[in-house]
């Protein structure tokens, strides 16, 4: 059975209470902030200590697995438990945060929780409505939060020491390489395009091949061009995920096709180059085939680099723990995106079964959890010592 735990729902509130209880039992100073993030602090005795945040999200997509998000929260609890058992005062505060909304399912806007912590929450979002017509501001109120307090829930830029998240890879690279963990070097930027091909519908039996303006053949040529371009780059993926033939029938030459294009890269220059190349290719295909092409940029996000120094430290911890150091770019978005604007971020990926994610079949081996915990523990201890 899949899990659905979207922002502010009963199952979400049940999970939130459980996480806060675990934090409290461990001895952390806990609170639920205005956006519903569950936050537990272990306070340093040092004057002017900064805050190191360990976090992931507790919300899920619809019909999700158990690991995407909660894994990082529970690993954080384990890490802190080990540190607390050592009984030594820390040179910095550690705050463990379970973000309330990363997936953005309910209000179609991602990173609600981490935007508040980064101080980047835009109050205009409060007027977003969910599918039932409920405002975000109403959900906050129902959860016991106060929309006016959102600003004060941010950690001020000067107070951050860094940010660390453990998350499943959601891709097949570690699974294929048979390696338990990887260090994330960047979170890919993304461009999402809607493309229309408008040719001429016609009778599949009576229009000779040379007289056709087949919109689906044009789309097919474009799909293969996008695949080929991305396959020739190490730092680029391109996907046509949606394709619809209007008024389709097996005996009608397609006259209208709409498809999506999703392109991602950690390198803004590569992404810009690929965008321009594929746009040019698309219009060339249209000209060659007398098919009218429409090209519309729907959405774009810039690539985010993880902090070089913090990421080096994480790589060192992986090596010290006895594992090969694999560097991966995250093709999926993460809470590190908004946080990176105010703090150095580092991320550790954990292998998941066949790369499957956003699916009840999502699975992580116990041995890989142990490996991630070993690496993270080493990483934090190194931070404390330095």
């Amino acid at each position: 059975m899949g899990i659905t735990r979207t922002f502010g729902t009963p199952s979400f509130l049940e999970g939130s209470r459980l996480i806060e209880q675990w934090m409290r039992e461990m001895g952390l100073q806990t609170r639920v902030d205005a956006i519903g993030n569950v936050r537990g602090r272990w306070v340093s005795p040092c004057e002017s200590a900064k805050t190191f945040v360990i976090a992931s999200h507790m919300d899920t997509v619809v019909n999700a697995g158990r690991f995407d998000g909660p894994l990082g929260v529970i690993m954080g609890l384990d890490l802190l438990e080990q540190l607390i058992q050592l009984g030594q005062p820390l040179p910095f505060h550690i705050e463990l945060i379970a973000f309330s909304d990363e997936e953005g399912v309910r209000f179609h806007t991602t990173y609600l929780g981490s935007k508040v912590v980064a101080g980047l929450f835009d109050d205009a979002l409060l007027n977003q409505k969910d599918a039932s017509g409920t405002w975000l501001s109403e959900v906050i109120q129902t959860m016991g939060g106060d929309s006016r307090r959102l600003k004060s829930d941010a950690i001020a830029p000067q107070d951050w020491l860094g940010y660390f998240e453990i998350h499943i890879e959601q891709g097949p690279v570690l699974y294929e390489k048979a390696i338990p963990v990887a260090v994330v070097t960047a979170i890919a930027g993304q461009k999402r395009i809607e493309i229309t091909f408008e040719g001429m519908a016609g009778h599949a039996g009576t229009v000779p091949m040379a007289m056709r303006q087949d919109a689906l053949c044009a789309a097919a040529e474009f799909i293969l061009s996008a695949e080929q371009l991305a396959a020739g780059q190490t730092n680029l993926v391109a996907t046509v995920g949606k394709l619809v033939v209007a008024n389709a029938a097996s005996n009608v030459i397609p006259g209208d096709v709409v498809c999506s294009l999703d392109m991602r890269s950690s390198d803004a220059a590569v992404l810009a180059w690929a965008y321009q190349s594929l746009q040019d290719t698309c219009f060339d295909i249209g000209r060659m085939r007398s098919v009218t092409v429409g090209w519309k940029l729907i959405q774009e996000t810039a690539p985010v680099a993880c902090d070089a120094q913090l990421t080096n430290r994480l790589a060192t911890a992986i090596a010290e723990s006895g594992y090969d150091v694999i560097q991966l770019v995250s093709g999926a978005g993460h809470d590190g995106v908004p946080i990176s604007q105010v703090a150095p971020i580092a991320m550790l990926f954990v292998r998941c079964f066949e790369g499957i994610s956003h699916n009840p079949l999502e699975q992580v081996e116990l041995a890989d959890l142990a490996a991630a915990l070993k690496v993270a523990d080493q990483f934090i201890k190194n931070l404390i010592v330095d």
Copy 2:
């Protein structure tokens, strides 16, 4: 506004009465047969005279134009009117038939009218139901027909002299060549295939290009292969008209794609070769991409050649009328398909605007109607003289 005149409906019966009235006013012996064909005979005084049939259909698709079908019936009325005005007895009977159902919209089975006239009607069809659950046998009864009389409405094989139909091209060749008419050499055979591509769905951001099993990329490669194969043959068309991506999302690598393939040729050997070639190509693409291919033949009809001698006579009539002789294969099906099993058939195509058909925009120039009439008149007169 489009026309919808499907078998046995009120608009159909209104059209049927009008056609019978026109036939009667002209002096033909008229009747409506059991399947609803309107038939008008001009009887020869000669003993053992055979019957030459001039025909087309009076039913239409949904939201049709004015010419597909009725054109041939009305041209037949004009032809007979001219012959009758000459006042000479004919050496053969002429029967003008307005077939009741060629499109097969209501009962999803084509050529109901011409199958009866050819003596090829299968009584099992009487148990077909339309969308409202009405049996074909009930519709026949409502129209005043008697299902038991269907067999006796056939023209016996030994009584046929030949069959002649005038029909719009439904394709763009004559329009592009700026020529009013063409002689039809054959009605293409057809194979309709349903193809499934089953790869592996995945996250568009996290699965590297080299690890993908993208079902839509496989389908795209197949679509272009089919287009290329057909483009390299003069006597073949291939069309992927339907394509559906299951569970499509712009950020998900397509895991399941279903598409159609429609292939037509007047040459059975070419059709069989193309079928085998594309099937092989499709499975090759699947193997190369680790995508599982399913291939299912849904429907097939054999090519039908028009009668060589009668078609030569029609070509002669075109030349005698002062037009270039263009030979075309009909990619669409026609009533000549069943009739060809019992009689020599010939068909004349008339140019239509941009090849548009099955559409209210269907249009034929008055000058082209005059050209077709001139050719047909010459054709029939030559038959009478010989």
